[in-house]
């Protein structure tokens, strides 16, 4: 038997590590700036490109896609080659993947501060960059699967499964959520609107966390943790259960981001139930990781690599306990829109992703350069700085969330709000924002120390590529038991499908029948177990043993497991008209000027601090006005419900204040709302809207279902001028002189329209579609009176 020597492509691994460390520091530096802006608004510098609402997406994109993305690719390329005993099949594809990904990151770093954004959270990049992401991902996929096909190792280790689920699921999520119709080279509108857009977006957003920030890192955990501890994973059997349960359940949980909103109840309930169920596989994986260290805890005390891994896995456990907790409707009622969510994602991102990255880098870099780590002491200090930083950050956010959430909800015996001024609740949590910035800064210092340590390590050695020797064999034909048919005919597959069908039928059934069906599911499991035992006694090859060697079949089964949840949740909302009620012609699309203003609202990233979703709670109705309804958003491409309230909800803002208030507020927020931390937007007065694009904007909107007439499209430019002139005249009468086509006028037009769509209650006579909304009546026209509790509110 001949052997051949294989040299792994570790050059690309070194490149991805370097990119991850550099972009990680940049992304976290931007994060510390953004955190500081929350405490000290002056740090916005009144410059568009450094304003919180524009750099917050830059921070999230940099940390998720640049820091964790590059780290993930480094781990995948390193471990895949070794687990498959094969060099990546194409160095060219690896190079295209690396440089393509970095170009995408640079494009994001340029476009986001410029305000070029779709405004969909964690998917803010505009369509040309989205296309580039899809292409680079396909290159990665081809390189990965082609290497799988050329492997010199029969078995697929569990880490490879997690990588497979990442490659296929991210492709599906990215493509579905990014579907948009371009207006120009750098501007597009989501093809989905309102409720549908919200559901698709958070199906994507949640599962980006699942399949970009979790599954690949779990694969990395299953490879690098045993490697660093020098012992096999605690339970390989548990890792099998962990994988299938996680990929099947995760995809259903997206709607937990939309609890108590206008999303249909059935979708909210599904999201909540599956989120709670998700706790089990998540903790299964966490315990499997920690128990791998059994008998090696003495090493953890001395080895910074194992310290980072052990703490990272522990943070994963904490975050995946907190996630299901936050997904319970009653908990979400308090926590949603508060800093609890920010604390939760940072315990995951800094604790799980950041620490797993640090552990992997400290383990890998010495080996990639044939040397030892330059300073263990520096790595130890990094660990403690990072840990204390995370603890400060998370506790500050918990305290902030509890304080603000309870202040929002506090009502007097007569039903009025105890804290009617929103800004009062913001001032109360300012100390927590300072602590948060301090915690983030400590973590950043640790990252910089790591960069220095890794740099010195690399300089003290020389780049070396790993090698291995494999036996050259002629390909063996698949035996009768290992054909594709054996995969399809496998009993576990059919038992699983029948079991899932029974569970679905429970939804149709009254209680007694449901109990019988559940009994049938348990019986099915028992029969499956007995048959599996019998096969084992006869030494028949197991179904698992067949599929774990067949990447194509494995990938298809993974895709099916993932798609079941996505299809069940998305299709009914997208295909059934009744899923979002339409009240008919009284629902009016935005006027040309309002649409221009809305585009500015998106550009400036107002959604990063303001929601447009009044939840059906007494305190919210008292503070903001009538609860929002699904039918009010049917022309919102994209939706703007937001996920955080640093400022108040804006859905019922229209007509609440005069135009002058809005002008003054945008120029100097503290002149109308003392104590606010909102940045000023003085450039809105200087800049001009693209007036000539009005007709095209309406025309593009019509292509995605907004019912503009030919006449409205033809007269869009003159209509927007007429509506703007009313605002200009009103402001001029109060001593403010602005150009009709200045951005501030369009934005005021949009803000005055918010929540005033009378379409939710049919009118006797439909109003003209392009009715200007420049007046400032005491109550929104055509709306029922606000909820029982009188609006004592000032929206500041």
């Amino acid at each position: 038997m001949q052997t051949k020597k294989i040299e792994y492509d570790d050059h690309v691994v070194r490149q991805f590590i370097a990119a991850s460390v550099i972009f990680g520091i940049v992304g976290m530096l931007v994060g510390v700036l953004a955190a500081s802006q929350m405490a000290w608004w002056q740090l916005n510098f009144s410059i568009p490109y450094t304003t919180f609402s524009r750099i917050r997406p830059l921070h999230t994109n940099a940390v998720i896609f640049a820091f964790v993305g590059n780290m993930m690719f480094a781990g995948v390329y390193y471990s895949t080659q070794r687990l498959l005993k094969a060099r990546m099949v194409s160095d060219l594809l690896s190079k295209i993947h690396f440089w393509g990904w970095q170009l995408i990151i640079v494009a994001a770093a340029v476009t986001l501060p410029l305000g070029i954004t779709t405004s969909k959270e964690y998917a803010e990049l505009e369509w040309p960059i989205d296309v580039a992401i899809a292409l680079v991902w396909v290159v990665f996929g081809i390189n990965f699967f082609w290497t799988l096909a050329r492997r010199n190792e029969k078995h697929l280790y569990v880490a490879i499964w997690f990588y497979i689920s990442t490659v296929v699921t991210i492709a599906v999520l990215h493509i579905v959520n990014s579907l948009a119709i371009p207006l120009s080279f750098l501007k597009s509108y989501s093809i989905y609107a309102g409720v549908q857009d919200a559901l698709v977006q958070w199906w994507y957003g949640h599962n980006a966390v699942a399949f970009f920030l979790t599954t690949p890192i779990l694969g990395i955990m299953y490879y690098f943790l045993p490697k660093a501890a020098g012992r096999p994973v605690y339970s390989y059997r548990l890792s099998v259960v962990h994988f299938w349960a996680l990929v099947f359940i995760y995809i259903w949980a997206g709607p937990h981001h939309l609890l108590n909103t206008a999303l249909p109840d059935w979708a909210q309930s599904l999201g909540m139930v599956f989120s709670v169920m998700l706790w089990a596989p998540s903790w299964g994986g966490m315990l499997n990781g920690l128990l791998t260290l059994r008998g090696a805890w003495d090493k953890v005390r001395q080895d910074p690599v194992l310290k980072f891994f052990a703490a990272g896995v522990t943070f994963y456990g904490m975050a995946t306990f907190e996630g299901p907790l936050l997904s319970i409707k009653s908990v979400s009622a308090l926590a949603h829109y508060t800093d609890w969510i920010i604390g939760h994602v940072h315990s995951g991102a800094l604790g799980w992703n950041g620490f797993m990255a640090a552990g992997m880098f400290y383990w890998l870099v010495p080996r990639l350069y044939g040397t030892k780590l330059y300073s263990n002491r520096s790595a130890e200090i990094h660990f403690w700085l990072g840990t204390i930083g995370i603890v400060l950050y998370v506790i500050a956010m918990w305290v902030s969330a509890g304080t603000q959430g309870l202040m929002w909800k506090a009502t007097n015996p007569d039903g009025t709000l105890v804290y009617p001024s929103f800004v009062e609740t913001l001032i109360a949590i300012r100390p927590m924002y300072i602590v948060r910035a301090l915690g983030g800064a400590m973590y950043l210092v640790g990252m910089i120390m790591m960069a220095w340590n890794l740099w010195k390590t690399a300089r003290s050695g020389a780049a070396v590529n790993g090698t291995t020797e494999v036996v050259e064999k002629s390909p063996e034909p698949a035996g009768p038991d290992e054909s594709a048919w054996a995969v399809l005919a496998g009993r576990p597959l059919w038992f699983s499908l029948i079991g899932i069908t029974f569970v679905v039928l429970v939804a149709f059934a009254p209680p007694m029948r449901a109990v019988v069906l559940m009994g049938a599911v348990l019986l099915l499991g028992e029969v499956a177990w007995i048959l599996a035992r019998r096969d084992k006694e006869k030494n028949k090859p197991s179904w698992f043993g067949i599929i774990e060697k067949k990447p194509l079949a494995f990938t298809m089964l993974t895709l099916v497991a993932v798609l079941i949840g996505g299809v069940a949740e998305l299709l009914p909302t997208l295909l059934i008209k009744e899923s979002v009620p339409h009240s008919g012609p009284a629902q009016k699309p935005y006027t040309a000027l309002e649409l221009q203003g809305r585009d500015l609202y998106l550009r400036e990233g107002c959604y990063t601090c303001h929601s447009q979703m009044v939840r059906p709670f007494v305190a919210e109705a008292a503070r903001f006005g009538n609860p929002s309804r699904a039918e009010e958003f049917i022309y919102d491409h994209p939706f703007q419900w937001g996920s955080k309230r640093t400022g108040p909800d804006l859905h019922r803002l229209g007509g609440r204040y005069p135009n002058l208030w809005h002008y003054t507020h945008m120029m100097d927020p503290r002149s109308t709302s003392q104590g606010s931390n909102m940045p000023a937007y003085p450039w809105l007065e200087e800049r001009r809207i693209p007036a000539s694009e009005a007709s095209r904007k309406l025309s593009v909107m019509r292509k995605i279902g907004v019912p503009y007439t030919d006449a409205q499209i033809a007269s869009a430019e003159t209509d927007q001028r007429a509506q703007a002139d009313l605002v200009v005249k009103d402001l001029k009468g109060q001593g403010v002189d602005v150009a009709w086509d200045s951005e501030i006028v369009a934005l005021i037009g949009y803000l005055q329209r918010l929540g005033r769509d009378v379409g939710v209650a049919p009118e006797p006579e439909p109003a003209p579609a392009a009715e200007p909304a420049t007046e400032a009546p005491a109550e929104p026209a055509g709306e029922p009176a606000p909820a029982e509790a009188a609006p004592t509110t000032e929206v500041k």
């Binding site: 020597k5 792994y8 070794r82 687990l83 190792e153 078995h155 280790y157 569990v158 880490a159 299953y222 490879y223 690098f224 045993p226 490697k227 020098g230 096999p232 994973v233 339970s235 390989y236 059997r237 548990l238 259960v241 109840d265 059935w266 309930s269 909540m272 139930v273 709670v276 169920m277 089990a280 299964g284 383990w363 010495p366 080996r367 040397t371 030892k372 780590l373 050695g461 790993g466 090698t467 291995t468 020797e469 569970v503 679905v504 429970v506 939804a507 149709f508 209680p511 449901a514 109990v515 559940m518 599911v521 348990l522 499991g525 197991s542 774990e548 299709l571 009914p572 295909l575 059934i576």
Partner: protein, 60 residues
């Protein structure tokens, strides 16, 4: 069909049944993984990451 499906999904019943089923499966898996005799079938798979590169020592 979809309409019927979601109409039949009672707000309080489904989560309850799902939760019971989930707990049943969860307990079964826990028992299977922790109580059942550890099969040696998976040992070679579990050891896969521990195979070193030809030129890989511990960090030198």
């Amino acid at each position: 069909m979809w309409k019927t499906f979601y109409q039949g999904m009672d707000y309080t019943e489904l989560p309850l049944f799902a939760m019971l089923l989930f707990i049943g499966v969860f307990v079964a898996v826990i028992l299977r993984v922790t109580v059942a005799r550890r099969a040696s079938d998976f040992d070679p798979l579990a050891a896969m990451p521990l195979q070193p590169d030809a030129n890989e020592g511990e960090s030198r």
